[in-house]
Amino acid sequence: MRRPDLDELDHQLIAILAQDARVSNRKIAADLGVNEGTVRGRIKRLQQEKLIAFTALTGLKLEKATNVAFIAVQADVSHVRHIARDIAHIPLVKAVMITLGPCNIMATCLYDDLDNLHRMASGQILAMEGVNHVETSLAVRTVKFSNRVVRITDAQTVSSL
C-alpha cells in the first residue's frame, strides 16, 4: 500500500472536510490561518493522489437494497484477478478484496430479498468459470463500521465504480 507524505496542515484539512465537505475554501483558510490558494492547492493534490474523495452519504432509506451480505469465493488461483473484476462489475456488489486464506475473494454486497441474493451468489458468481465454491453470510447486525475511511480506487467516485 501507499505511504503518502502528509503534513499537519493536510491532516487538519482532511479532518475539517470529513465533517462537512461543503464548507468554503475561504472559511477553511480563515479557520486554519492560511491563504485560500493554499487550501485550494492542497485539496486538489489530495484528490489527485486519491487520498480523499468527496461524496454524499445517505441513510439506507434512499436505497432499494438495504441488507448486507458477505460472499466468500474460492476461485482458481490463476484466474483470481480476472474473476474478482467480474464480480466487482455486479451492480449490487459494493466491495471486493482479493485475499490469502480459506477463500481468495471476499465480496460485500447489498440485497433486497433473499431470492435476489441467491441469484447473485449461486446464479451469477458460482456460474463464473474458475469459481469452485461460494459461501454466503448474511450480516444480521452491524456492531462497528466506518464509511469515512475507504479505499479510493481508480476511476472512482466512491459510490459509482
Binding site: 445517505t58 448486507v68 458477505f70 471486493v96 471476499m106 463500521f145 480506487t153
Partner: protein
C-alpha cells in the same frame, strides 16, 4: 431523525450530483438540474437536518497509515455472539464488525499499520476475549472495488 422523511425525485437528483462531486457549488448543481440555487441549498439543508444526508470527504486507508487489511472470521461458543462482537469492536485495530449467519458468527475487518502487528494482536489481545472458539484470517492482497457509501450514517465510527 424524522421517520416520515421521504426523498422525492429532485432530492435524489441532487444527491446523485453530490455523490459525483460533494464540493460542487449550489449554483453548479442548480444549473445542471434546471433549478435555482436557493432550491438546491434548501433541499440539501432539509435532508441534512433530517439526518438523511451528510456530504463529506472520505479518506483512503493510507491517510491513516493503514497498510494491511485482514478479514477475520470468528467462531463463538459458550457466550452470546453479540457480547463477543461488542468486546472485539472496542479494539482500535477492528475497523468493522458484523454479526453474520453461516459457518462463523462474527465477521471482522482489521486495519493494521504493519503486518508485524498481527501475531501479538491475535495471540495476546483478541484471543483474550472470552467466548472465541476460533479465528480464521484472510489477508487482504488487493482491493478491487470499494464503495460502501450507502451504509447507515450514524453507526459508531473510527474517524
Amino acid at each position: 431523525m424524522s421517520e416520515t422523511f421521504a426523498f422525492d425525485e429532485t432530492d435524489r437528483k441532487i444527491v446523485e450530483q453530490l455523490r459525483q462531486n460533494g464540493r460542487a457549488t449550489n449554483q453548479q448543481i442548480a444549473e445542471s438540474l434546471n433549478l435555482i440555487a436557493s432550491t438546491v441549498s434548501t433541499r440539501i439543508r432539509r435532508m441534512e437536518d433530517a439526518g438523511m444526508l451528510r456530504v463529506v470527504a472520505v479518506s483512503d486507508f493510507a491517510v491513516h497509515g493503514y497498510h494491511v487489511l485482514i478479514h477475520l472470521a470468528v467462531q463463538v461458543s459458550g457466550r452470546s455472539a453479540l457480547d463477543v462482537a461488542e468486546e472485539l469492536a472496542v479494539f482500535p485495530e477492528v475497523f468493522a464488525a458484523h454479526l453474520v449467519t453461516g459457518s462463523y458468527e462474527i465477521s471482522l475487518l482489521l486495519t493494521l499499520h504493519d503486518i508485524d502487528e498481527l501475531p501479538s494482536l491475535i495471540t495476546d489481545r483478541l484471543s483474550k476475549v472470552p467466548g472465541i472458539r476460533s479465528m480464521i484470517p484472510a489477508i487482504g492482497l488487493d482491493i478491487v472495488r470499494y464503495g460502501l457509501d450507502t451504509a447507515p450514517i450514524d453507526r459508531r465510527r473510527l474517524a
